[in-house]
Amino acid sequence: MLLLDMSVPGRQGYTLPKLDVDEIPITDLIPEDYLRESELGLPELTEPEVVRYFTQLSRKNHGVDVGFYPLGSCTMKYNPRVNEDIAAMPGFSRIHPRQPESTVQGALQLMYELDRSLAEIAGLAKTSLQPAAGAHGELTGLLIIKAYHKSRGEAEQRREIIIPDSAHGTNPASAQMAGFIAREIPSNERGGVDVEALKAAVGPQTAGLMLTNPNTLGLFDENIETIAKIVHDAGGLLYYDGANANAILGIVRPGDTGFDIVHFNLHKTFSTPHGGGGPGSGPIVVSEALVDFLPSPIVEYSGGRYHLVRPKHSIGPVKAFYGNFAVMVKAYAFIRHLGAEGLRAVSENAVLNANYVMHQLKQDYYLPYDRRCMHEFVLSGKWQKEYGVSTLDMAKRLLDYGVHAPTIYFPLIVEEAIMVEPTETESKATLDAFIAAMRAIAGEAKNDPEKLKEAPTRTPVKRLDETKAARTPVLVYRPAK
């Protein structure tokens, strides 16, 4: 049953105030042939029907509030509700982006203080809060790299962005959007960057390197200083994909390890909710040498006031207005609530939880990189594959245990990958239950593989036919007349 199925002509779920001005015939205001002829195709429903429909829909959805959500690289931690209350304060939610600066000093102060906090956490100089998501931050950072080389007369020559084969898919896609050529390099046997391959890849054509550290295997690259030196010596810049920053808060700062640009996912590390796929926020923090290239505008403080300023050689805006402000409010509330000690505890416990679960599961699942992990780790389903069971089957079976599946088939360099990120907001009891479920599934894979292939069976729908969806796309509902 969809909204249009429930529609009854004449119903309305919201009443506007009565029009209180003198009306003029519409065709005196707009030429007749500019007016819509077709129906709007919207449902006609009352408020209680709408409420029940969406409440019922919500009940068919898993969220962090519902249960464990160990989706690797996504940092599905608890989203504090006080942050929602704060973002909903009229002083934040009911301000217009074009108001005079004098009337939005509180908002600008908040953005400035968030900028200062993120710069301290990153170990870099200045933040742009404009990017709307991690991938958007990547694009922005790459445009800054381009502008930097251009300012030195090297834009034509420096066309390549080096990206390890373990990187998020957004890295090469962002490089392409920024007009670069993505050059992939392999990982070494410890899961880090293959330093020899990097040496062979750099040259006068190198614009920069994009790196996630800890990387998508959840491993900290011990050679980061060497890597940074190789790239810098070749004249390139280092971009830090901050998707995995939940491992490093107050422990190590990307800027101190040689990175020039960092993006943070406020919707991962800094606890703002993902909302089923956004809104996110992907601010970038850059080194002193790159501040002048930041997107416009940034917030500065001078003469006792906060100002929106266009950096001297700004790459221009990358989003309308100032970014996803409400998300910034929530992230800043989180930072102020936890402080330095709390943020460090976030990373310590995130890393502890990941190592604990990894350690308990490595007898049951193949662990391709058996070393200490950071906030997440990657298992492989290849042992279970021998019983004719895929990682997908096991992921679907986990849903029957009331757990969201880990990220699967990523990173691409691990066969049948299972990427687990518990986060710091889960209890030992939850982790133990997850470990028990994973062990039970490993047992089922061996003894009752059919059960996994039929999974899930306790979910609102059973396994969905993705091939059919792609082969004969139905993307819009068109009720039969």
């Binding site: 709007l40 599905m76 422990i251 990358v318 309308a320 970014g323 402000f325 936890l338 907001t425 509902y477």
Partner: protein, 448 residues
Amino acid sequence: MPYIPNTPEEQRQMLEAIGLSRLADLFADIPEQLKLKRPLDLPEPLAEHQLLRYMGQLADKNVNLDRCVSFLGAGAYDHIIPAVISHLIMRGEFLTAYTPYQAEISQGVLQSIFEFQTLIANLTKMEAANASMYDGATALAEAALMACNVTNRRKVGAAANLDPQWLELLQVYLENQDIELVKIAYNHDTGLTDIDSVDTKLGPELACMIVGQPSFFGTLEDIGRIAAWIKSHKGLLVMAVDPISLGLLKAPGEYGADIAVGDAGCLGNPISFGGPSVGFFAVSDMKLVRKMPGRIVGQTTDRDGNVGYVLTLQAREQHIRREKATSNICTNQALNALTATIYLALLGPQGIRQTAYQCLQKTAYLRRKLEAAGFKARFKAPVFKEFVLQADWDWEAINERLLEHNYLGGFPLKQVDPSLFDCVLIAVTEARTKAEMDQFVDLLRGWR
């Protein structure tokens, strides 16, 4: 630590299970010389009660729209928001979910996105729509890139009367792919795109023509003529539309637009200093769907034959195609799209038509009143919910004075176009009342 369950005893047990004794041992892979040897230099932590106080103080330093009467628009609008929306989107199952990768336990989000795609496609009269974009500006830029991809042309035509910030962003997106942006001038008398001024030699080189309906100035374009022009050169027609205006105005599909984009922040989303908003992206036929950026939800069946929804056509996307993807977009604006969906469901066709009608009538009313008070409407063309007013004074100074009377005046256009130094862009939504407008006019008249 209110959000971290591990007690010191549990930490000890877990460390022991791993074979470690201290938390610091967990970080042995990080070279010692790189580690931060001091606490982060951040303000002292605030307990929740203090936090609410502090953030409340920051919020109170802002003049919010509940404390004044606003005629500001220029890309963000003070529309009425039904109270029930925030209650629904705050349900934890929606709020705290990720992108719906595991479809079987994500039917709530997936079905709501399918509803969004349906309602946007219907409103715009297009064949299909995606799950959302960051905002209208980035949706527009992605539409231009897609048009180049579809037509294999490397020039993009865009009406110069589009939102200047959107144009600037478009320039950023295009220049880095070595695509040329050609701005099509507008007539300074009417405020409308002057399609006759375009060199016809340019026509066959343009991947698309992007036009706003209404324009940044609120003026309504003669889209039919522009459509005919770009179609005759086999380029795409890209329309950037205000979704509320579609309650009255001809839809992009009715003009034969190939891509329709816009900002749906105005559909029930709080204005929040300009973000998060939500962009929409719709196309005219299924062939174009495969070139579309962003997430798409499709209907399918489960193994028992029950209807369900999944993310589909993912072969376009970054996690599969990497550098060959149609875009790098990943996280989009799902909760804001859900907000828009609930808004559309509540208002329905009558409510959207009524909202558009009130915007139109109230804008016309204020324009009439101001003209009667001796002010000049800068452009002659018909307008929807915004218009440009001209007067020989400093609008920023006027806005300062208005503020003393709890009015937020219009947007002074000298900030974006020096030739419009004496102009202000005034927006009127359904939220304004006759009394508010009358007092506004009285104030301005008094200062003449």
